[in-house]
């Protein structure tokens, strides 16, 4: 029991630095949602139910473009498919935990809790399952309430910011900021380049179809580049 508690506190400490990122990001979402015309319940509900910033922005952007809701859902889910990787990579550590622990843990699986936890769990594979769970829940303890709260603050503040601050452009800048650090290899650059070219070329298509086609083409381009580069070496 005490090793679980220690792991929990270690998880809280390891997750704390990410609040610096989550708070402004949550505020930005609240702000953008208020500009887009969501009411306060919809805005906070989205942060509580979806808990995935990039997909929330994407889905909202698609809705603002006038596309039907299922296109917004598909776009948001496409952005979140990376979590399939997270889930698969945590499964060897958490797969043996009690079922209802896993049902709860799944809700708390986000970029930051995954990123922090997997480093520690891979480093210490001999930790007990309950200590591993404790660590994982520790990483989520601060960031989740901060995410909800900052969304609310952003919504409330958003209505008081004048238009000359060009906050319309905070969304594109935010997406660029999110993806730029991951463009760390040639296949990633190829995927990003194909995505931009196809999206601009097909932008005349309705219902964000251009985005789905661009994303599929770019994903295949990235994976194929990686495969060929690996085959050469």
């Amino acid at each position: 029991m005490s090793s679980t508690r220690t792991a929990f506190y270690h998880g809280i400490l390891a997750g704390a630095p990410f609040l610096l990122m989550a708070a402004p990001f949550g505020m930005l979402f609240g702000l953008v949602a208020s500009e887009a015309g969501l009411d306060i319940y919809q805005t906070v509900a989205m942060s509580v139910i979806v808990v995935a910033g990039a997909s929330q922005f994407s889905a909202l952007q698609v809705l603002v473009d006038g596309s039907p809701f299922y296109i917004a859902v598909l776009t948001g889910l496409a952005v979140n498919m990376r979590m399939l990787m997270y889930s698969a990579s945590l499964a060897p550590h958490l797969g043996k935990a009690a079922k209802w622990h896993r049902i709860i843990a799944a809700y708390f699986l986000i970029d930051q809790t995954y990123g922090v936890s997997i480093l520690e769990l891979d480093k210490k594979p001999d930790m007990s399952v309950s200590a591993k769970l404790g660590y994982f829940f520790g990483t989520a303890t601060l960031i989740f309430p901060v995410w909800y709260g900052s969304t609310l603050v952003g919504y409330l503040v958003g209505n008081t910011i004048p238009p000359q601050f060009a906050l319309d452009f905070a969304v594109p800048i935010m997406f660029i900021a999110l993806v730029a650090p991951s463009l760390r290899s040639i296949p990633h650059l190829v995927a990003a380049f194909v995505s931009v070219i196809v999206a601009l070329a097909l932008a005349w298509m309705p219902y964000s179809l251009w985005l789905i086609i661009a994303a599929l083409a770019a994903m295949i381009a990235g994976a194929e580049t990686e495969r060929r580069m690996a085959a050469q070496t």
């Binding site: 610096l20 990122m21 930005l28 887009a36 969501l38 919809q42 139910i49 979806v50 808990v51 995935a52 990039a54 952007q61 603002v64 809701f69 299922y70 859902v73 776009t75 948001g76 889910l77 496409a78 952005v79 498919m81 990787m85 997270y86 499964a91 043996k96 896993r102 049902i103 799944a106 809700y107 060009a166 319309d168 452009f169 905070a170 969304v171 594109p172 800048i173 660029i176 900021a177 999110l178 993806v179 730029a180 650090p181 760390r184 650059l189 194909v194 995505s195 931009v196 196809v198 999206a199 601009l200 661009a214 994303a215 599929l216 083409a217 770019a218 994903m219 381009a221 990235g222 994976a223």
Partner: protein
């Protein structure tokens, strides 16, 4: 964008995202993703976000769809800062600062 479509988006995106999270922790704990699928999933963020953002940068709604030098420069700087420093927050803050600066200089 109706109220109903907003709520449907929130609920279905929430359920779908939860199921993605639960998938391997909960349902297929002893299964492995095939290599070809993992290889494609690695490029999901790089495939979705640049395409989503490109039309917003090139044809911003705030200028009625006309390309705007301040926004193009700000986007380029944010991209460079994010790629070089590997800092999401740094790219966000400096990108917006550059946007204000260039808007001020051109005004």
């Amino acid at each position: 964008m109706s109220n109903l479509s907003i709520w449907l988006t929130i609920i279905f995106l929430g359920i779908g995202t939860y199921l993605i999270r639960y998938s391997f922790i909960g349902l297929f704990a002893d299964k492995k993703l095939p290599d070809w699928l993992l290889r494609h999933l690695r490029y999901v963020p790089a495939a979705v976000m640049p395409g989503l953002v490109a039309p917003l940068v090139v044809w911003p709604a705030a200028t009625g769809g006309d390309p705007d030098p301040a926004r193009l420069i700000a986007a380029a700087v944010a991209l460079a800062i994010g790629a070089i420093w590997r800092s999401v927050l740094g790219a966000l803050i400096i990108g917006m600062a550059v946007l204000y600066l260039v808007q001020y200089l051109l005004a």
